[in-house]
């Protein structure tokens, strides 16, 4: 067992720069990575330090270039077949070597499944402080990272700090920050780093990877979200989503039941969304869900329970059977020309 020195405190002055882990799968970058670069640009400027994109993968030079265009001063690129697809053990080993060598002060990682898998692994050998699922970031007068996360079901925002250990690490919930647009004229250095991992030393193997539903609900202007009240029948909600040209999303319950893919989950353990219109269909409105949609411009709730907490968090509510309300709403919206008429071939949504 490898263990850090006593208590693992370090000379914090020896650490500088803000790193963002850029999560790449098969050449595609997770949007949250760009969101973090946008947010971290400000942190790096407050600190007077560099913003560094850490890109690990195979054939990812372009990703390094794009990271510079999106705000990084430098991109560190570890490019090797051993890094595609993602596995915790080779990524962890590469990261450990880089931290030992370069001493970053702050490392930010998107709170996706991969990001959480990676962050939990790499924080240990560095004896780093790691805060999970942050929704706000800042630096105090001493340059200490203030990582804020909702606690106690979202009623409280807790600020977590890490005084004596480095790097200060945090995972950040997808959808909280805005991605910066790429600026093709931005200058920055792209540095290739040597892979320190050999395939023979890995302890895991990805036999198959199947990713089909790549919709990003954090980008949607309109969302229709389903919950337990749908009882497995998503027809009425899908029809409403089609009419409104909205993305389908879900509460944790609907995801756990297997009705909707986890990438569409809104809430504490899912994504934060802030669309112009959020329609909650058959969602009771547990705090963990509300936390992920409370910044929406307008919230509509359809639920047959007049006491459902969701009505406290909605601008407009209809107490009624969603299997009746949704079709009637679609019909009225179309009649009044508030949405486009029905397509001959309704769009197939996952």
């Amino acid at each position: 067992m490898s263990r850090a020195e006593k208590a693992g405190a370090v000379d914090t002055d020896a650490y500088s720069d803000v790193w963002v882990f850029v999560e790449v799968h098969d050449g595609d970058v997770m949007t949250v990575s760009w969101e973090l670069l946008g947010e971290a640009r400000g942190l790096a400027e407050d600190l007077g330090e560099d913003l560094v994109a850490l890109v690990i993968g195979e054939d990812v030079d372009d990703v390094g270039r794009e990271a510079v265009e999106r705000g990084a001063d430098r991109a560190l690129v570890a490019d090797d077949p051993v890094f595609e697809p993602y596995r915790a053990d080779p990524y962890g080993e590469q990261f450990r070597a880089l931290v030992e060598d370069r001493h970053p002060a702050i490392v930010l990682i998107g709170g996706t499944h991969t990001g959480r898998d990676f962050a939990g692994r790499v924080a240990v050998p560095a004896h780093a402080g790691l805060t999970a699922d942050c929704t706000e970031l800042g630096v105090d007068d001493d340059g200490l990272l203030e990582a804020r996360r909702p606690a106690f079901g979202g009623n409280v925002l807790a600020t977590i700090v890490c005084e004596d250990h480095r790097p200060q690490m945090a995972t950040i919930r997808p959808g909280v920050f805005s991605a910066a647009d790429p600026d093709p004229d931005r200058d920055g250095q792209i540095e290739r780093v040597d892979p320190v991992v050999d395939e023979r030393d890995t302890v895991s193997e990805v036999r198959e990877r199947v990713v089909g539903d790549t919709a990003d609900i954090t980008e949607a202007d309109r969302i229709v979200a389903v919950g337990a009240g749908c009882d497995g029948d998503l027809g009425p909600a899908r029809e409403l989503a089609d009419a409104l040209d909205a993305e389908l999303a879900a509460s944790r319950k609907a995801v756990d039941e297997g009705w909707v893919d986890g990438s569409r989950q809104v809430g504490q353990t899912g994504k934060t969304v802030r669309p112009e219109l959020y329609v909650a269909v058959g969602i009771s409105g547990a705090v963990q869900h509300v936390e992920g949609m409370n910044d929406s411009d307008a919230v509509v709730a359809v639920n047959d329970d007049p006491n459902a907490p969701i009505f406290e968090h909605a601008d407009y509510g209809v107490v009624g059977d969603l299997f009746e309300v949704c079709p009637a709403l679609v019909e009225r919206l179309r009649e009044d020309g508030l949405v486009d008429a029905a397509d001959a071939e309704p769009e197939v949504k996952p």
Binding site: A123, V124, F152, T159, N294, V318, V325
Partner: protein, 263 residues
């Protein structure tokens, strides 16, 4: 080849989410008065571990790190079918964040001779999900997180998992020993049998181990070894909403049009 695998399941006692009340004076949650229960995602972990034993044999041992009262969740684990259970308890653990917590559970895994260490996705009281990868990192083991299904290939010293990833899934084969974190809601926990329940509540006594007994020094664990600290808490102001209730879908359409939300 691993023919008699030791499968260790990490469980935790947490405040019952449904019973936690807000202290009206501070606005903070009053967790002390909430009854303590088994962390719900850990039921999936227990089922996954027992399912592995059903398929491949071996022994399932539940382990928890906590005060002596945490024995309750070990009894629940034994009632569900675990062969044995261990309470890792020491005053030195007080104030541990995820770093020393994962170190402690890693040391427990070694002491108990684990081939597979199964955890729930996260705990409902802190929701970090950091401990399972942390355990794997401390031990240098493989890790499988967000696991929806498991297939033992113990003859080849491997465990194969279906993992939930954004937008799909992947099938990953990991070398033993391995740490597994199962996706919450993916395993249907079996009910406790009556005899087993009676045994757990009356006869069963868990193994009790201190920091020293699992090979840890006091200064490696607890608050002094925890990199993070809570710097402050602020109450979140609720978002103001119209909270207008309408009776029909037609009225809703009109209200949305009037507000300029559609159209």
């Amino acid at each position: 080849m691993t023919d008699d695998p030791t499968i260790v399941v990490g469980v935790k006692q947490v405040p019952d989410d449904d019973e936690v009340r807000i202290d009206p004076d501070t606005g903070h949650l009053d967790r002390a008065s909430a009854p303590a229960v088994l962390n719900p995602p850990d039921r999936d972990a227990l089922e996954a571990a027992l399912g592995l034993r059903d398929a491949a044999g071996g022994t399932v041992v539940a382990v928890t790190m906590g005060p002596p009262t945490a024995t309750d969740v070990l009894e629940e684990a034994v009632a569900m079918g675990c062969d044995d259970a261990a309470l890792i308890t020491d005053r030195a653990f007080a104030g541990s964040d995820t770093w020393p917590t994962s170190l402690t559970l890693a040391a427990a895994a070694e002491s108990l001779g684990a081939d597979v260490f199964v955890c729930g996705e996260e705990t409902t009281d802190s929701s970090t999900g950091q401990v399972p990868p942390g355990i794997a990192a401390h031990l240098g083991w493989a890790q499988l997180t967000y696991v929806e299904g498991l297939e033992p290939e113990f003859d080849d010293d491997r465990l194969v998992a279906r993992r939930d990833v954004e937008g799909g899934y992947e099938i990953v084969a990991a070398d033993l020993p391995v740490v597994v974190a199962v996706a919450y809601g993916e395993f249907e926990p079996r009910p406790a049998g009556l005899h087993r329940k009676l045994y757990a509540e009356t006869e069963f006594e868990p193994l009790e181990l201190s920091a020293d007994e699992i090979g840890l020094d006091d200064e490696e664990v607890g608050i002094d070894a925890s990199p993070t600290e809570v710097g402050g808490m602020e109450t979140v102001e609720p978002v103001e909403r119209e909270r207008e209730t309408v009776d029909t879908a037609e009225e809703l359409a009109d209200a949305l049009a009037d507000a300029g939300v559609v159209g």
